[in-house]
């Protein structure tokens, strides 16, 4: 057993960027549509003037956020996502602006699940969800082989039943 616990090193698939971009795009579109619709309504139905102003500001904010989430965020998130799984514990480190470090001892792990939406499936990736009694943590966008290997390793070490979703 090493004296200190090192920072996690393993990274996740680069394809995650493309997938997250697409998902963010799909998420932001309805918001933009609603904001745009409300501005149109405010114009057409002659709502009080300052509502229109606020709506414009909102639209600008939503647009900025959409650009950030679609173009900038996925790149940094993928670059900074790290995980490490040893016999003793599981470590996660993620986040660009706000970094999060998580440590979960192997003995506390209750279940390991994988999930895979259509987008992930296309690239052969899985999200791995590791759950304790207290919380669940997800390692996103792992290559299928790696994900299953990790899942089996954790399952045998933590002695738990695992399930596929």
């Amino acid at each position: 057993m090493t004296d200190t616990i090192d920072e996690p090193q393993q990274s996740i698939s680069k394809e995650a960027v493309k997938i997250w971009r697409l998902t963010a795009f799909l998420n932001q579109i309805p918001l933009l549509a609603i904001a745009g619709g409300m501005i149109y309504a405010s114009d057409r139905f002659g709502w009080v003037e300052w509502i229109g102003m606020i709506l414009y500001i909102l639209l600008a904010l939503i647009l900025l956020r959409a650009i950030y989430k679609i173009f900038i965020y996925p790149v940094y998130l993928q670059k900074t996502w790290r995980y490490d799984i040893t016999d003793q514990q599981i470590q996660l480190k993620y986040g660009a602006l706000e970094k999060t470090f998580v440590l979960v001892p192997m003995t506390k792990v209750q279940y390991v699940n994988t999930n895979q939406g259509p987008l992930l499936r296309r690239y052969g990736l899985l999200n791995l969800a590791i759950g304790t009694m207290a919380s669940t943590h997800e390692i996103p966008a792992l290559p299928e082989k790696e994900a299953i290997e990790i899942r089996t390793r954790i399952a045998s070490q933590a002695n738990i039943k695992d399930s596929d979703e």
């Binding site: 602006l97 970094k99 001892p105 506390k108 919380s135």
Partner: protein
């Protein structure tokens, strides 16, 4: 109901012979009918008031409706009662129930993590009580209730479950000699003086004033006091002094009301424990007894509210994996209010496996700096709105600013953390202080969050999560990264 259970226990053997499953007490039917009234009482009252007393036809219709309703509910209640049966064996509790469709569930006794006993006035009249069994499962599956059993039967059931658990533990631990559970020792009994003091220091005291004002208002509408009070009101409006006096008067009146409420909730509050379990009993009209296994306690929380802090009163909660559903009384409460010194003496007695009051480390000066520097969106938005809409009240923005600064300073001063293997303690808070104590092996997860601003200062936010329902996260913000890493590393090693 025939009681055909026999119980013989020797040191190592348990025989609980049950020849027939048992039903709830007969009074349960009555109770269910009354309970069903609760759902229609409000629409009923409204319809009566809406249609007036005079309409005879309407009244007859109403009475017929009510009678049919009672008839209907009686049949349903009777069916519920007839079909609800329970059996305790050496390993499990089996319940069959269902008015029309028969359902069965079996609960393995070793899954039961805690038992709560609840006795309302209604129950007490007939020497009955309610038993709730809490398991580790989530949601609907988690609690199983026996809604109306005799107190004698309840005690018998509790003893049986405890015996079974003893036996299991003995088998696991392979102890040669029988293990004696010490007789419960009484740790704490709340006195009326405690309750009075707590009432005085309770914030909800102030909340009673608007309630009373509403009551006065209602009475006014009803009795048409306005004629008499017009003169009084005029006099009032013209004198701030009288308003102040009235305020004080209402406040003083609120005290006995608050006291009575507290007394009914916490009267006869008693904490006892034996080697394995803690028993908390409370309530006057509605008595509740909560049992929790000491093993299941994952952490202790000390809460000091704003006012109570100055009087040295704390609230002590237990974080455990045996919590009951939210609609019941606060069951994770150990002491609702107790002197701090007394708590420090009692906790080691009740939970000898926990050490609290560890050497505390304060936050460095740079934490104060970051807390003050952090922009307050609340302040910015309120000031913006204030200046735009109510510019006459601009000084409120200033007051708000000073308030926020003060709160942040308090948050800095009141944050502590400490580690004395295997115990860890975190304290933080602004208005009220919360201190959380736990052990290494009870911690489920440790996380650190580092915002952009914190990165510049070398600070992080530390989160320690402990298993419970719901999960308990103890947080301390703006703690030096080296300190947090120390805890992180400490946790990672076994």
């Amino acid at each position: 109901m025939s009681e055909m259970g026999n119980r013989i226990d020797n040191q190592n053997e348990i025989k609980y012979k049950v020849d027939a499953p048992k039903r709830m007490s007969r009074w349960w039917v009555f109770f269910l009918i009354i309970k069903s009234f609760r759902s229609i009482i409000i629409p009923l009252v409204i319809t009566i008031f809406a249609n007036g007393w005079e309409d005879f036809d309407f009244l007859t219709l109403l009475v017929i409706g009510i009678i049919l309703f009672i008839l209907f509910r009686t049949i349903l209640a009777f069916l519920s009662w007839w079909n609800f049966k329970y059996v305790f064996t050496d390993d499990e509790l089996q319940i069959t129930e269902g008015r029309f469709v028969k359902q069965q569930r079996s609960i393995s006794l070793d899954r039961i993590q805690s038992i709560q006993q609840n006795t309302t006035i209604f129950h007490r009249l007939f020497k009955l009580t309610t038993l709730s069994f809490q398991t580790a499962a989530q949601g609907d599956e988690s609690t199983h209730k026996l809604e109306m059993v005799s107190i004698k039967e309840a005690n018998r059931i509790k003893d049986h479950i405890n015996d079974v658990k003893e036996k299991d533990r003995q088998e696991i631990e392979e102890e040669a000699e029988g293990e004696f559970t010490l007789a419960p020792s009484k740790h704490y009994e709340m006195s009326p003086k405690d309750i009075f003091f707590a009432t005085l220091t309770s914030v909800s005291l102030f909340a009673i004033i608007p309630v009373m004002l509403t009551v006065i208002n209602q009475v006014d509408d009803f009795l048409n006091l306005e004629k008499y009070s017009k003169a009084l009101l005029n006099a009032l409006e013209n004198s701030m002094f009288i308003i102040a006096v009235l305020g004080v008067f209402l406040f003083i009146l609120a005290i006995p009301i608050g006291f009575l409420t507290m007394y009914f909730r916490y009267g006869h509050y008693r904490v006892t424990s034996d080697e394995k379990r803690i028993y908390i009993k409370k309530g006057i009209l509605n008595q509740t007894e909560f049992t929790i296994s000491k093993e299941k306690v994952n952490g202790i929380v000390f809460k000091k509210t704003f006012i109570r802090r100055w009087f040295g009163l704390v609230e002590v909660d237990l974080v455990s994996t045996g919590e009951l559903e939210q609609d019941k009384v606060e069951t994770d409460l150990l002491f609702p209010f107790i002197g701090e010194k007394r708590a420090r003496l009692l906790i080691p007695e009740i939970l000898p496996s926990f050490t609290t009051g560890l050497t505390k480390e304060k936050l460095p000066k740079k934490s104060l700096l970051i807390k003050l520097i952090r922009p307050s969106y609340l302040w910015m938005i309120s000031t913006g709105a204030l200046l735009y809409f109510w510019i006459d009240f601009w000084f409120i923005s200033l007051i708000l600013f000073v308030l926020i600064v003060l709160l942040r300073i308090m948050s800095y001063v009141q944050s502590y953390h400490g580690l004395e293997n295997p115990f860890i303690e975190l304290q933080s808070g602004m208005f009220s202080i919360e201190r959380f104590a736990t052990k290494h092996r009870k911690i489920d997860m440790i996380a650190m969050k580092e915002s952009w601003l914190q990165r510049r200062f070398g600070l992080v936010t530390l989160i320690v999560s402990v298993r419970s329902k719901p999960v308990h996260h103890a947080t301390i913000t703006d703690i030096p990264k080296e300190a947090a890493m120390r805890y992180y590393q400490w946790y990672g090693k076994r």
